[in-house]
């Protein structure tokens, strides 16, 4: 079985007009960067890979994850995680509640895992906090930990650093890419920031 994420002859179009076509493979621990101006369809590509393609768009090709065709699976079954532009911490849950939301049910020691993830993010003791009281960098780290706790097999990154302060950006960026490499997860990053692409260190596709 071939490990990793493969975008096989993916072609996306809107109202008969082709937006982009990609044929690429991302191996475990590698991050493929897709660069392009806004409106080029790079976010649509992520939506297709995650399973949220809007009905207005049409798509051809397959998404293969660890040798398995997931193109027609619902998003919650694909094991493809997504990091958004905003940390998107659930405002109605505590920090620990957000992490526990990610841990699949039936996993032993769910709470211990969440606590360990918190410690790993340098946020020991923050579990009962209201996410609204966290700083931008702390929120980003919690969001990543929540994603990793959900045990994805691949990760999509939708310009996840674009809204961070310049001072924070470098730290968060290397933190995220280090974790992905450490877990040997294939990553697909869309961005229009060259520095993101450089930090990702993987192949770059320009559209």
């Amino acid at each position: 079985m071939e490990r990793g994420l493969r975008l096989e002859n993916v072609r996306l179009s809107l109202a008969g007009r082709e937006l982009l076509s990609v044929d690429a493979s991302v191996s475990p621990g590698e991050v493929l960067t897709i660069m392009g101006p806004s409106g080029s369809g790079k976010s649509t590509l992520l939506a297709f890979a995650a399973g949220f393609l809007e009905p207005a768009f049409s798509a051809a090709g397959r998404i293969i994850l660890d040798g398995m065709d997931v193109t027609h699976l619902p998003p919650e079954r694909r094991r493809i995680g997504l990091l958004f532009q905003d940390p998107m911490l659930f405002p109605h849950l505590s920090v620990a509640g957000n992490l526990l939301f990610g841990v699949p049910p039936g996993v032993p020691d769910r709470r211990a895992r969440a606590a360990a993830a918190l410690e790993q993010a340098g946020l020991e003791g923050f579990g009962t906090r209201d996410p609204a009281t966290l700083s931008g960098g702390q929120k980003a780290r919690v969001a990543l930990m929540r994603l990793l706790l959900s045990e994805p097999s691949a990760v999509l990154l939708d310009e996840p650093f674009s809204k961070l302060d310049a001072t924070l950006k470098g730290d968060v960026r290397s933190y995220v890419f280090d974790r992905l490499r450490e877990r040997k997860l294939p990553g697909l990053l869309v961005t229009h920031d060259e520095a993101d692409a450089a930090a990702a260190g993987g192949p770059i596709i320009r559209i």
């Binding site: 995650a50 399973g51 949220f52 809007e54 009905p55 660890d66 398995m68 997931v70 699976l73 619902p74 998003p75 919650e76 079954r77 694909r78 094991r79 493809i80 995680g81 997504l82 958004f84 905003d86 998107m88 659930f90 405002p91 109605h92 939301f101 990610g102 699949p104 209201d130 996410p131 609204a132 009281t133 929540r146 994603l147 959900s150 045990e151 994805p152 097999s153 999509l156």
Partner: protein, 570 residues
């Protein structure tokens, strides 16, 4: 790692069918079962032949045309006056501090049942009411109230006033809900920078886009006002009464043979309401044509100050009379005796309340039970419908909205009677449950309307995020969307409950007069004229929905006291 285990199939697919059954079913069945007896066919009562006798009987009723005219006029005048006041106020004051203050003042009026508002207004404007007590101090007259027919006036003006007080806040809030869709600030900026004065700019650049968005609620106001029963009983003319009241009287006639004529009357009421709507739509075209000439004329000013003043005056009058009505009800409920022309009763007591309490508790529990059941069922259907829209990616279309407004536009006095006849034919016995089921038809549209905007505004990324984290659609709904929407959900529940509490006709007809709620009893008391008792009942009727809204505001604050961004959402 292998894909996660499969999640259950979407159970909301049957929702469009359920919504259609609940909203259109009663209207269609009800209309069929008044249509047949109206032409003499009702085998259960020995009517086997098609005949025009019911109509001959109906047209022989003295004063019938006057009744029909009052109903027609009430619909059109209430619609026009409410639109004018709400529209001019919006045009003259939108974005000002006065506007926000006034909006906070009139919003709670929505929660007050029509019957309670009408009873309060009757206390305020009657010759022996608060206004004339005040006037008496200024003009030295006798110590007896003037001999004027103000409440129950033959023109139906008091009734129209009672309706306007309730419908102005309704239209104002519907307009405010629609405004974000049309980018009013940009439209105003374009017109103002070209030298248009504020009200003219609003009328020429904002109103034409806003009007289509509030047309359905406005048509509902016209239909409602042309066929209202409770407000008409309390404030309307008596001899002859508005058509709806006359029809209800025939429908409640213990002589079962009167049902043929009552059915014909129900159809006449439907005709009057349809005529009112048709006249409105015709006038709409005419106004649109004239307005186009005016809009292209380039005039920058149209008595702007005067029009804004009129809007402010109208809105102020609505707010003031509602507040004073409430004061009247409260004072009477605490008065032992309150002689004319004193502005205040000699002594206040809780005796009225303690005396009335045993009689109130039965109807209070019935109101609570019916309201809770019908609201919960409506809420479930509305939520499922919105989830269905979300999962299919298709928002409710034009036809869904028309379906939603169907029970609000077809006069209940026309189709509910048919439902009663149909229920009798199938041997269903009237009671709490049929009443609660009947209420759903009227509660569901409001619950859905109040919930749909917050639902659509919720960032879709929350749901996507939950699903990429492996949450099933059900879990995404229960532990993400529902908590994020807790506050609007509670508001929708409070809205639904207040609609159910205020139902008069559905309760009276489907309960065959045997189900007593706060509204039916308060309306029944109105004719008795015992003001202290009316005060107690009307106030209870007002407080019950108010408690619902207080909970809807209070519970999220309590639950989210430690979640800052959940509190900021409101």
């Amino acid at each position: 790692m292998p894909p996660r285990p499969i999640s259950k199939y979407d159970p909301t697919q049957i929702i469009p069918a359920i919504a259609f059954t609940v909203l259109a079913g009663p209207v269609i069945i009800g209309l069929v079962f008044v249509l047949l007896p109206a032409f003499g066919y009702l085998p259960a009562l020995g009517g086997y032949d098609i005949s025009l006798d019911p109509w001959r009987q109906l047209f022989a009723v003295p004063g019938l045309w006057r009744s029909a005219n009052v109903s027609l006029a009430a619909g059109l005048v209430t619609g026009a006056a409410s639109l004018l006041i709400a529209g001019l106020f919006l045009a003259g004051f939108h974005g000002t501090r006065t506007f926000n203050a006034m909006r906070r003042l009139v919003s709670p009026l929505l929660a007050i049942p029509h019957a309670a508002a009408a009873l309060g207004l009757a206390f305020l404007i009657a010759p022996s009411g608060l206004i004339f007590r005040g006037l008496w101090h200024l003009t030295t007259g006798s110590d007896r109230p003037p001999d004027l027919l103000i409440v129950h006036d033959t023109w139906g003006l008091a009734m129209i006033a009672g309706l306007v007080v309730k419908e102005v806040p309704f239209l104002l809030l519907m307009a405010l809900a629609a405004l974000p869709q049309i980018d009013a600030p940009a439209r105003m900026a374009v017109a103002r920078t070209m030298g248009y004065a504020p009200v003219t700019a609003w009328a020429k650049a904002v109103a034409p886009a806003l009007y289509p968005l509030i047309r359905l609620p406005l048509l509902a106001v016209i239909a409602y006002s042309s066929s209202v029963v409770d407000v008409a009983v309390i404030l309307g003319p008596t001899n002859p009464p508005p058509l709806s009241v006359a029809v209800l009287r025939w429908q409640s006639d213990p002589d079962l043979s009167a049902r043929f004529m009552a059915s014909a009357g129900a159809l006449l009421q439907l005709t009057v309401t349809v005529l009112a709507l048709a006249l409105w739509l015709g006038a709409e075209r005419l106004v649109a044509r004239l307005a186009r000439v005016w809009m292209e004329s380039g005039t920058r000013q149209t008595q702007d100050r005067w029009l804004a003043g009129l809007g402010g005056f109208g809105m102020g009058l609505v707010a003031l009379s509602a507040m004073l009505s409430f004061v009247c009800l409260a004072t009477w409920s605490l008065a032992i005796s309150w002689r004319f022309p004193a502005l205040w009763p000699e002594t206040l007591t809780l005796a009225n309340w303690t005396h009335a309490l045993p009689a109130i508790s039965g109807p209070l529990w019935a109101t609570l039970a019916i309201g809770t059941l019908s609201t919960l069922v409506s809420f479930t259907i509305a939520l499922a419908a919105l989830e269905h829209e979300l999962s299919t990616g298709r928002p409710a279309g034009v036809w869904a909205m028309r379906l939603l407004y169907l029970p609000l536009v077809v006069p209940p006095v026309a189709f509910l009677f048919g439902l009663v006849i149909a229920a009798e034919a199938t041997g269903l016995t009237p009671g709490l449950l049929p009443v609660a089921i009947g209420h759903i038809t009227f509660v569901l549209p409001y619950v859905y309307l109040s919930l749909s905007e917050p639902y659509r505004q919720l960032d879709p990324r929350w749901g996507r995020l939950a699903m990429t984290l492996g949450a099933s659609p059900l879990r995404t709904f229960l532990s993400v969307r529902l908590p994020l929407l807790l506050a609007p959900c509670l508001t929708a529940l409070a809205v639904g409950f207040s609609v159910s509490v205020g139902q008069y006709l559905a309760t009276g007809l489907l309960g065959a007069g045997r189900v007593e709620t706060l509204t039916t009893e308060a309306v029944a008391l109105a004719s008795g004229g015992e003001r202290r008792v009316i005060g107690v009942w009307a106030l209870t009727l007002t407080l019950l929905p108010a408690i619902g809204f207080a909970l809807a505001i209070g519970i999220p604050r309590l639950v989210w006291h430690n979640r800052r961004s959940m509190l900021d959402r409101r």
